[in-house]
């Protein structure tokens, strides 16, 4: 099985955090970037060949992924390949939608002649065994298996909902139904039999070219053609971090000692590419509670119920509360940061204030500089 991670979106709902980087490269949980979860799941599931499809600000994502060795994915005849737009003798190949992005990369997939293709999104936080899902796909003799999450009926109105029969076969797909008939929300995770999917895509693009999106176009086509399409229910922690609010929420949940994600579980590690940094230094003026801190940090202020990512500096007299600070941010002295996300390499000058509320998280963007440091620093 080969995996394609759709990491393409600009993620405009993440605002200033994705002005200079793709959403999957956004930092999470102090030591990770969002795409680490999908890549680590692949590695732990024995999925050794992964194409990462992206077309928005790919520099940081490329630098992060490199050859995939950090996730154990740099083997011969396998590996991680970042797939960007390119030109061919038939013209320029831009990606217009999730399914179209797969169509444009048929040549890449065919290099490995996979029997199954796993389609993933690059912006979900979860741990999932794709090998078990494949076993289910095979057992059902499915043409397509869709990963679904049981949600409450109330939440179901905000998702794409799969209505199934008693064998878990999907009989209807409704996008954000007002009156949901089921609580099985699509996770945007698909296993396709590759030859069948390829045929649908090639046929479509040699005729009307309408197969742009999996949810809108491909699943309805599969259902109307009676392709055996099954739902595979996932029971576990799963979070889409596509908005500032949900990204902050997921980070706060990550802080909980009994978080079901269980990041310390060594049998299903989340890998990442990290630099080797000095240990964290907690000075004689610091206070740290209910928080997670990683290497390279220097803490002389108070940190309460917050996450500090690599190489974050917090000056004396500063208070950081209910916040997530991304790598290489510098927080001066006597700063107040409350209900906020501070972007990579941001600088908050002495005495600065970044204060949000639980419903309106304050954001400081990538490399944004607020105020200035005192002379003596």
């Amino acid at each position: 099985m080969l995996a394609m991670i759709l990491a393409g979106g600009q993620g405009t709902r993440l605002g200033k955090l994705t002005r200079f980087t793709a959403k999957p490269a956004v930092p999470f949980g102090g030591r990770y970037r969002i795409i680490d979860f999908a890549l680590s799941n692949c590695s732990n599931s024995g999925v050794n060949t992964v194409g990462v499809v992206t077309q928005y600000q790919p520099l940081e994502l490329n630098a992060h992924i490199q050859n995939g060795a950090s996730w154990g994915l740099a083997e011969k005849n396998a590996g991680v390949t970042v797939l960007q737009p390119y030109a061919s003798s038939e013209g320029e190949k831009w990606f217009l939608g999730t399914a179209h992005a797969i169509y444009q990369n048929i040549a890449y997939i065919d290099l490995y002649s996979p029997k199954y293709v796993l389609i993933l999104s690059g912006d979900h936080i979860y741990k999932m065994d794709y090998e078990a899902m494949l076993a289910y796909h095979k057992a059902q003799h499915a043409s397509l298996t869709v990963g679904v999450l049981p949600v409450t009926m109330q939440e179901a109105t905000r998702f794409g909902i799969m209505n199934t029969d008693e064998t878990n076969r999907i009989i209807q797909f409704e996008e954000k139904p007002k009156h949901p008939k089921s609580n099985l929300a699509s996770m945007g995770i698909y296993i396709f039999n590759w030859q069948t999917l390829k045929k649908y895509l090639v046929d479509s693009y040699s005729t009307d070219g309408r197969m742009e999106d999996f949810g809108k176009d491909v699943i309805p086509a599969y259902l109307s053609h009676n392709e055996p399409t099954y739902a595979y229910a996932f029971h576990g922690y799963w979070k889409d971090v596509g908005t500032i609010q949900s990204l902050w929420q997921a980070n706060m949940e990550f802080l909980e000692p009994d978080n079901p994600l269980d990041i310390d579980d060594r049998s299903w590690r989340i890998y990442s590419r990290n630099d080797a940094l000095p240990p964290m230094f907690v000075t004689s003026t610091a206070k740290v509670h209910r928080s997670m801190i990683v290497d390279g940090c220097y803490v002389a202020g108070e940190v309460d119920h917050s996450i500090l990512s690599q190489n974050v500096k917090v000056g004396t007299g500063s208070v950081i509360r209910d916040s997530m600070i991304m790598p290489n941010a510098v927080i001066g002295k006597n700063v107040l940061i409350d209900h906020a996300i501070v972007g990579e390499r941001a600088v908050i000058g002495d005495g600065g204030q970044v204060v949000g509320t639980p419903d309106d998280i304050a954001v400081v963007g990538f490399q944004e500089v607020l105020g200035r440091m005192e002379e003596d620093d």
Binding site: G29, R31, P257, R269, A276, P279, M292
Partner: protein, 389 residues
């Protein structure tokens, strides 16, 4: 990749008896340091930062920890197509009664030096923890008259270890001899003594010539002694290193070097300079500080969980400090656990040690208690036994 101007030799055969039991299964070079590193990371990083890509490591008797840590040298960019880490196995001294082994001793060095195609060679150990600029050393050497340059640091006479090796310098600031620091005159200008850092730089062809000469003579003289002899028969340039340096030669000096890292100035000088210190990377989760955690003046590695109190301590990866536990003036290595209500003060816990609930273990700054790798102390009577032994 660049053209290879320099290669390096790291000799990990350094005296380790005074560091027992921490050196029972490792050489000085792989002693954990500052919550994150092994001592050998410092010479390896210095080498890497000087764009050296070819390194010969002469392995000590217990070499497994070295191989496990250094591996292909990737962490220091030493796994390139033209360079690499070359390891030479340990040979016991008694085996040098055999002339074939003596011959092989020199052959190891010669093969490495010839293959390196380098112009200069930097020779170092690992027990002098420092962050030296080897490129600057090279420039100094190129501008100096003698075939060998030796590195020293100036230590105030008051704090110099009287037994440590020092330089005898002449009027031109050239090394003419070595002696124990107590037998070397203080430099009046600054009341210091020039303590040897046991690092040398020389031309590769010069060293090849030197080694071949001794090899043909049939005598067995180890490389460090050979360089000593050369310097005392002729003389050497003296290069002063001015950054942070600690010599790890016994338990108190090891303890103090770690405590030094709680001094912000020394911490930054050694670990946050222009020349980064690289080490083997590990995937660990962030360290969790519980609501009741109370941490001041400490260094912590990742993957830890802190529910208790920490003061003036250095914790490595994956250390668990339970509720109401107190860890004061201590070094706690990877994977160790300190139980509920335990009190640990002036203690060095090697990897994977466990101190059980309510156990009291209190040493002194001069004589910290050392728990060897994997020690488990479940109750106070077990603690007393350890203290007796």
């Amino acid at each position: 990749m660049r053209k290879q101007d320099m290669c390096a030799i790291i000799d990990l055969n350094e005296p380790s008896a005074a560091l027992a039991p921490l050196t029972d299964e490792r050489p000085v070079g792989t002693m954990p340091f500052a919550g994150r590193y092994r001592l050998v990371d410092f010479p390896l990083s210095a080498i890497s930062n000087a764009d050296i890509r070819t390194v010969g490591i002469f392995l000590p008797k217990s070499s497994r920890s070295v191989e496990d840590h250094v591996r292909s040298g990737q962490a220091w960019d030493l796994d390139t197509i033209t360079g690499g880490v070359f390891t030479f196995p340990y040979v016991a001294t008694r085996d040098y009664d055999d002339p074939a082994n003596v011959h092989r001793y020199y052959d190891n060095y010669l093969t490495f030096l010839i293959k390196s195609k380098s112009e200069y060679v930097f020779i170092t150990g690992a027990r002098n923890v420092s962050n030296i600029d080897v490129s600057a050393l090279l420039h100094f050497h190129q501008a100096s008259p003698n075939p060998i340059t030796a590195v020293y640091r100036s230590v105030p006479t008051a704090s110099a270890n009287p037994e440590q090796e020092a330089f005898v310098l002449d009027a031109d600031n050239e090394v003419t001899d070595f002696a124990a620091s107590k037998d070397v005159a203080e430099r009046k200008s600054n009341h210091t003594k020039p303590i040897s850092m046991q690092m040398y730089l020389t031309r590769t062809d010069y060293l090849i010539e030197l080694l071949s000469r001794v090899q043909n003579s049939g005598k067995f003289i180890r490389l460090p002694e050979l360089i000593h002899q050369e310097i005392t028969t002729a003389q050497a340039n003296a290069f002063e290193y001015t950054g942070y340096c600690a010599t790890v030669h016994d338990i108190p000096s090891y303890f103090q070097a770690n405590m030094d890292m709680l001094d912000e100035e020394k911490f930054h000088s050694l670990l946050f300079s222009q020349r980064a210190i690289y080490t083997k990377n590990k995937n660990e989760a962030p360290t969790y500080f519980a609501p009741e955690a109370d941490v001041l003046s400490s260094l912590l590695g990742t993957g830890g969980r802190v529910y208790g109190k920490l003061r003036d301590s250095v914790l490595f990866r994956n250390v668990y400090v339970d509720h109401d536990a107190q860890v004061l003036h201590s070094i706690v290595m990877q994977g160790s656990r300190i139980g509920n209500g335990a009190h640990v003060e002036y203690v060095i816990m090697d990897k994977g040690c466990v101190v059980g609930p309510d156990v009291q273990l209190v040493g002194t700054a001069e004589a910290p208690i050392v728990l060897k790798k994997g020690t488990t102390i479940l109750d106070q009577s077990a603690a007393e036994e350890v203290l007796q032994s």
